[in-house]
Symmetry: D3
Subunit: 229 residues, 6 copies
């Protein structure tokens, strides 16, 4: 069992268009890995730009932050449906609406369940980490548009180096410095990290702009940043 | 009881941005009308450009037309949530997922229920017409970005004239000439018109780019095109 | 994957009694076909006389046409349960209540799902066609008490001839001449035909008073009327 | 709060036709009583002849007794919908599917909830008694086609006398002599009587072929047989 | 298919602590029996002391007996979750909330479903008997802390003898002498026995303080008391 | 609108018995406050000792931490039902199962909704804070068995002083030093505090062993520790 978190940022190009070909490639990669093996996976897709567009609107319209979170959740589910469309009948046709629905679906019936968000105050990273815990997953893979965790911000400092490994306590420290608003959950959030830490989940950050990285990570190759306990 | 269908096309500008101010104005107009009176309303919001963007992607990814319809339904529900955010607690906080949920919600509890689509093969117009029938609505108002039904296509023919009234049989004839694909339901579709015809529902097409037109239509003013029986 | 629509008219005799033996024979035929093969099927059962009896009552009691449709849907589900009883544990024990429930059930778990109607304004034919589309069914079989589509009404004109094939456009034209009331959906309705046409579904009309015709149609024999695209 | 159990036998005439006028009269009587007062009611409708017809068929088709019970439950819900149609929007539009649904509906929202059965092994009398207990109803009224409980079987013995009152212990003794099959729950059953006894519910048996008897019983007049504790 | 009723009394020791080791042993025994065979089972767990503790409180707080029953149902479900935790992924992760949910889960998907109670007025014995009927179970095993049914109360009379067999009619007579309150359902109750009698279910009472007795009873050994028809 | 979090620790005495009288007093206090005013409240009850007892067992039986959380959630819901029993029909009769259910219930229908937990990884404090955010509550009151937040641990240091006010940033710092296991959520947790901080919710910690403190806090008196922004 693997949990794959696909950042919403990967799914859209600079003109805000859906990267259809990438979605298609991901579906092929995932089918290749899981249709032959006995393993299963849960995929959690983020909200990306479309989430932020709707959240900007509802925040301006006076909604509560919890409601704004729901906009992000629903946008993430719309993105999840893109992947479901590409995966075909190996995947359950709907993203589950909450943890209870996920748990009812998971278990022998479907090889793959694709999720968006579940409830306010919980990022899609937290959804993925919670699923990793309850399914006792081998590994949770976090796919974004960067190569992993750096010593410094690579956009600002040319001396920033990619960390091959990072201890969970150091990840917690990094996170502690962040602040949160609906739809703006950073690299990883505190609620998500709680699951990782308390159940010693193997978490790996990899660059998701190329689906091959996913194959590599699942077959156990060193790539990106691995969180150690 | 009124049923208001708001075309998704009204909600986005040419740069594909959400017309936040218009949504806000609609919320004010609707609150003005319904918070004082004993009347209730159901609002059905269409999928618009966002629906078409996602449908284009899933169709290319090989999904069935029914699945593409679902993309349109979910996009319409995301749009519906924009209006819910602006309406505040006068409206039920979630768009119902199917007819049964709508019916359970409707009846004394909430003044306003905002819906997107319900199920494949059924346009948001059909959802609105079905609701108008089951609630025995006084009137169903169809808001698009044109002024009503014309004798000819006004974009192509400068002599096209707006019809103040149109008999249901003539509307059916107009519709019979159209073809359908998921997310491309034209002005009005056959499934929707069946409800209108069999229950003699008062249907009015008006220009929705200005919320004042909604106030006029609800207060009984002649505007747009009225379907007669 | 096959979709089988069984007209409610087949299930009752002239004295309004349930044709128990026919239901039993259908169950045997269907088990024979599907228990050995890897194929699955969805069966949609119509409301028949019992539906019309209840609809007549609720219409007289002042219910909306949408409500009358619900009476037809519930009666169809009662009929569906007859077939479920006869099929035993090869079939899911309840008719799904709406499209979402069907979709959650369909996929690997059960070989056979038996449905009645889903929602107002949608005939059991439309339910069957929608299922055929979303499951990408090989064929949709429509079983009634006539042999197929005729050139003219065979009850009125002895020269009427059974059509072996009929183009979808010609079927649409036939349908365009009909009118609709709750519980009185004719041979085939416009909403249903939209699915058939837009997804080029192989639709075949056969005489369902003899279950052997079902076996023949599924094994690919020419029988009844086939709709071509 | 009152609970009214309407025996299915009242709703059909000897030719198995729906007694539409009686349903309409009941709706008028019930609206008269409850629309003016602050009181609420729950109505439980039995399955009657239609239930027995379907149960006979499923039993012959080899279904379990629990499944046969479900046929009775669904038929009872179809009958419940007749009364809902006649009551209009004073009643919740669907019969609840189980106890949890009933409880969610009951409480301030609707004046009247009309139920059929809930689950196998539980007669509609037991449903009514359970509702009477949980809602702490003033009275539970049991409407059948006889005048109440007699000293002997009035069809067989001309000396049989109607009992104005009957102690709960004597009712239990009467019931102990009966046997049960799905759809053949007699006058009152043991599961139902348990609720009545343990919570000392005021239960009254009255003749339901005339809706006026219902008005009389609710206004406290002596009529039929009252169970004492 | 087997139905196993585990009395809540078995799960707690005299100091009201959970008998964790016994739960673990039961899980091992049940996995041993069912993971190799093609057979399935449903397990119904009672409420035990924890149920009585909460019911005592809610009764004192003025709740209806139906509400008190719900406390017992929820406590039984909490106990059911203990067994689910120990069984791991061979069992469905949640106790079903009502009969409909059980039926939707049962059928091919899971080997084992663990239940608590379903609804007021229905003991966990009745839940087990209803499941035994609808699934046409080979046998229903009733596990309590006594060895079976005795000629007299063994706590009071040293001459009391364990009955190897007991006819259903004699069981009914025994039960007729009992009275009921929420959470105090005795050895077996009338509602439960109705299922047993009408469907001639093979019911066996055994001592559940030792999980080996379960293995013996399932492999067909004479143990405890068998109910005959 | 107020959100009241009642710590599970308040509900049980040292012998692990339910403090029935305290529950009754709380119900009276809450009815006094809310039955007269137009205000509503949501109450979230913690799991307390009963939660820890079951979690200890399931952890030993090998369940995941997420599953252990579910034990805590269900125990909290059992405790919530105690309060519901005492509140009577002013409260919704069931604790909602997740955020979506809460949101559907909240809004005009019920004055009071009593909740336990919602989903793994989320303490009952986080549930309460999320509800406070989405309902734009005036205040969230956190009732435990201590008087508020102290400068030091009052059990260890006699010089510890109760803080009348505490800035949210200081609360966050306090929390950052804690670690988490299922069922052992300390005073307040990081997920909960995120809602408080991002929406500037007025949070007050008070001693809940005396219901009068609740009345005082709601009427605006200075008591316990107030979190400032």
């Amino acid at each position: 069992m693997f949990v794959i978190k696909i950042g919403g940022s990967i799914l859209f190009d600079k003109e805000n268009q859906i990267k259809q070909q990438l979605v298609s490639n991901y579906a092929k990669t995932i089918r290749n890995i899981f249709s032959v093996s006995k393993k299963k996976c849960a995929i959690v897709v983020g909200g990306g730009k479309i989430a932020r567009k709707y959240i900007t609107a509802t925040r301006a319209l006076g909604a509560s932050e919890a409601y704004n979170d729901i906009m992000g959740i629903e946008a993430a589910k719309l993105n999840a449906r893109l992947l479901i469309a590409a995966l075909g009948d190996i995947a359950y046709p709907d993203p589950p609406r909450n943890f209870q629905e996920f748990q009812a679906l998971f278990n022998k019936t479907y090889k793959i369940i694709v999720c968006g968000g579940f409830q306010p105050g919980q990022s899609t990273n937290a959804v993925a980490a919670c699923i990793a815990e309850v399914t006792k997953a081998e590994k949770m893979l976090n796919l974004t548009d960067v190569d992993g965790v750096y010593t410094k911000d690579p956009d600002k400092d040319p001396n920033a180096k990619l960390l091959k490994e990072l201890h969970i306590n150091d990840l917690v420290e990094l996170i502690a410095k962040q602040t949160t608003k609906a739809g703006q959950y950073p690299l990883f959030d505190y609620t998500a990290v709680q699951f990782i830490r308390r159940s010693k989940i193997a978490l790996q950050f990899i660059n998701g702009t190329n689906p091959d990285n996913l194959s590599k990570a699942i077959s156990g190759k060193q790539i990106g940043t691995l969180i150690t306990h």
